[in-house]
């Protein structure tokens, strides 16, 4: 007769549980001061909350135009340079690329009226100006990440003469694909009421939305899984760095947030060609420069179809879509991404 599973197994699990909890907790405590960000960089420009960084070279130059990395507003950019063995930036530096990065900082109550025009035609424009002046160039490469990729698309469409090559990474373009759960939720949200209530929309609100996409996994199982590797300090350190990044979310300037939620998520203006920033229409057909669109095949935040929609909208004849079999966060830190992505970017740039 088939009886219950080996009774000693759960009994052993129960018996071991307190010890595992203690060991894991001690490792978590030890990891609570882990550092993040590993590549040396210099602040070369700052304005309001924003800082433009220039990374110090660690390898002979590849003699390519500098790359301006435009990160998203909704998370901190150190995810791209988390630790030596999980750093897209470090891998690109090793290949001789000259990198700049915009760190948008943490908006406060004084930024509640900062809007998308300020971010795109203001801050981003001036940061690129600093890079171009420093290198005496008319145009250079822009690498936009996630929401920063959307900003980069808008910017390049408005100022195509200043963007020599455009690389977008896990970048949403079609905000209403059928598999986009976040978008479904946003459709019925009264964005104006939300912004009126907060001024600066707290990062916690956004985090809550993100973890609610897979609540059983992201709010419980991932912590329970720690019990199995609790004594591996390196693993716990990695976990804590990631945990720090996930919940280290800047508040969002209310005006920009409202515009982004309404124009992009609710009205899908970028896709429809009806988006205007600063009174000028964002016409993606004006993007005729070489364009590399990198997307994650397992992305639950920016589904592949949301990114690959770009191909049919741009005027560029030199368009390449590159899908990696990783998730949204895996694009920055997974082993596969670390191995494949930097080389792909450098190779693509060298041929342009």
């Amino acid at each position: 007769m088939p009886g219950p599973a080996e009774p000693s197994t759960p009994l052993r699990e129960l018996g071991e549980l307190p010890g595992k909890i203690t060991a894991t907790f001690q490792s978590l405590q030890a990891a609570s001061t882990v550092s993040f960000g590993c590549s040396e960089k210099d602040a070369v420009y700052s304005e309001d909350k924003l800082t433009l960084y220039h990374y110090r070279p660690i390898a002979p130059s590849a003699n390519l135009p500098p790359v301006l990395i435009v990160y998203a507003l909704v998370n901190r950019p150190y995810m791209m340079d988390l630790q030596p063995d999980r750093s897209l930036i470090r891998r690109l530096l090793e290949l001789g690329l000259d990198l700049y990065l915009i760190d948008w900082g943490y908006p406060d109550g004084g930024d509640r009226f900062t809007d998308l025009n300020d971010y795109i035609n203001g801050y981003l424009h001036r940061c690129l100006g600093v890079v171009l002046r420093e290198h005496r160039l008319e145009s250079t490469t822009v690498l936009g990440v996630c929401q920063g990729g959307t900003f980069s698309l808008c910017y390049a469409a408005l100022h195509p003469e200043r963007v020599r090559n455009l690389i977008t990474m896990v970048t949403p373009v079609d905000f209403q694909t059928s598999d986009n759960l976040l978008s479904k939720w946003v459709q019925s949200i009264d964005v104006d009421a939300l912004v009126a209530a907060h001024g600066i929309v707290p990062g916690e609100v956004l985090n809550a939305a993100y973890v609610s996409l897979m609540p059983f996994r992201l709010l419980q199982q991932k912590y329970v899984n720690l019990l199995d590797g609790g004594s591996d300090q390196a693993q716990i350190d990695n976990f804590m760095r990631m945990e720090k990044w996930i919940f280290d979310s800047p508040g969002q300037a209310g005006a920009a947030f409202a515009q982004f939620a309404r124009w992009f998520f609710q009205e899908n203006r970028l896709l429809k060609g009806t988006l205007e920033i600063g009174g000028r229409r964002v016409d993606l057909q004006r993007l005729t420069q070489p364009l590399l669109n990198i997307y994650a095949k397992q992305d639950h935040l920016v589904p592949p179809a949301a990114s690959t929609a770009l191909e049919r909208l741009v005027g560029s004849r030199d368009y390449l879509a590159l899908g990696l079999d990783v998730g949204h966060i895996g694009m920055y830190v997974s082993g596969r991404s670390q191995r494949e992505l930097p080389q792909a970017i450098a190779y693509w740039l060298q041929r342009r």
Binding site: M1, P2, G3, P4, A5, E6, P7, T9, P10, L11, E13, L14, G15, L17, P18, I21, F25, L28, Q29, S32, G109, R112, F113, L181, K184, W185, Q187, S188, I189, D190, A193, L194, A196, A197, H198, G199, P202, E204, V205, A208, A209, V211, S212, L213, M214, P215, F216, R217, L219, Q220, Q221, Y223, V224, L227, D228, M240, E243, K244, F247, D248
Partner: protein, 308 residues
């Protein structure tokens, strides 16, 4: 069957011991945190602001809460499976398990409905029915605002509850209207929370049924999961699958949006009342600051214009 009964008895004893051990760990950690002095206080303050739970206190709490929930979920599932697996008839075994799962709905739902003690505010004020799972309705800080009756200058107003629908009259009619609006918004929030809780109860029930469907064949064939962790992982997989479907449904989307929108309006109404109080003491208000920020923006734009 005797040995199986003994196994069940051993299991119950072990489960009780694990729960007692966890309580002891809670106590020991709490004492350790209390002894950390200013550093511990700093960590607590960070947690209260809803920021990253990186202090030892908030980290420990969050971690132990998850462990408790894990024990609650996997322990209950294992106990049920163990009881079912003890039956000799395969059909009866599977049926007992699936029937028993229905009895767990309330318990599992409550794991997600009640905020865990000491949960950071950002997580505690989430969508109803989610407990620690704070959703888009989870507007941090809202729950920390004083209750309507505790709003400055309002606690003493007579008949506030009954004033819900009365016409506002007399010298305090403006304040009465503000209060009525607050009460209406509070009621709307409660209603929205109930709606969303209903959605969550439904999700948990369907997830348990899904788990039963997945496990019944294994129970029939006498190859049940071998460990608590395995059955827990199967539960998570089933729950995420059901949730992924439900969260896309119109009813869930609407319930979640209604709660978020109601909470936003309630928060704004609360702030307006606080500002009225501020004005009485000639204290600055958010509205004043906003006006100044707007003027600064215009000045900066004008300055940039003159510079070309």
């Amino acid at each position: 069957m005797t040995s199986e009964s003994n196994a069940t008895g051993d299991w119950s004893v072990a489960l009780q011991k694990a729960q007692a051990d966890m309580l002891r760990q809670w106590t020991e950690m709490s004492q350790a945190w209390a002894a950390t002095g200013p550093a511990g206080g700093g960590a607590s303050a960070a947690a209260d602001s809803g920021s990253v739970p990186d202090g030892p206190e908030s980290l420990g709490r969050a971690f132990l809460q998850q462990c408790e929930r894990y024990l609650g979920v996997s322990g209950s599932l294992w106990e049920l499976m163990n009881r079912s697996a003890a039956m000799s008839d395969p059909e009866q075994r599977a049926r007992q398990f699936t029937d028993g799962l229905a009895g767990l709905q309330q318990q599992f739902a409550s794991l997600w409905t009640a905020p865990p003690p000491g949960a950071p505010p950002a997580m505690a004020f989430g969508m109803p029915g989610m407990g620690g799972m704070s959703g888009m309705g989870g507007i941090p800080g809202l729950g920390g605002l004083p209750g309507i009756g505790m709003m400055p200058g309002m606690g003493g107003l007579p008949g506030m509850g009954g004033a819900f629908n009365l016409p506002a009259l007399g010298p305090t009619r403006e304040q009465q209207e503000s209060l009525q609006r607050l009460l209406q918004l509070g009621a709307r929030c409660t209603q929205a929370q109930l709606q969303l809780s209903g959605q969550w109860n439904d999700i948990i029930g369907r997830a348990l049924r899904e788990l039963g469907e997945r496990l019944a064949p294994r129970l029939k064939s006498g190859a049940p999961p071998a460990s608590m962790k395995e059955i827990y992982d199967l539960w998570v997989e089933a729950a995420e699958g059901v949730y992924a479907q439900a969260a896309r449904g119109a009813a869930f989307v609407q319930a979640q949006a209604e709660l978020t929108n109601a909470l936003s309006q309630l928060r704004t109404a609360q702030r307006e009342l606080v500002e009225e109080w501020n004005k009485q003491f000639d204290l600055p208000t958010r509205a004043e600051l906003n006006s100044i920020h707007q003027q600064l923006r215009e000045l900066k734009a004008a300055l940039a214009g003159t510079r070309g």
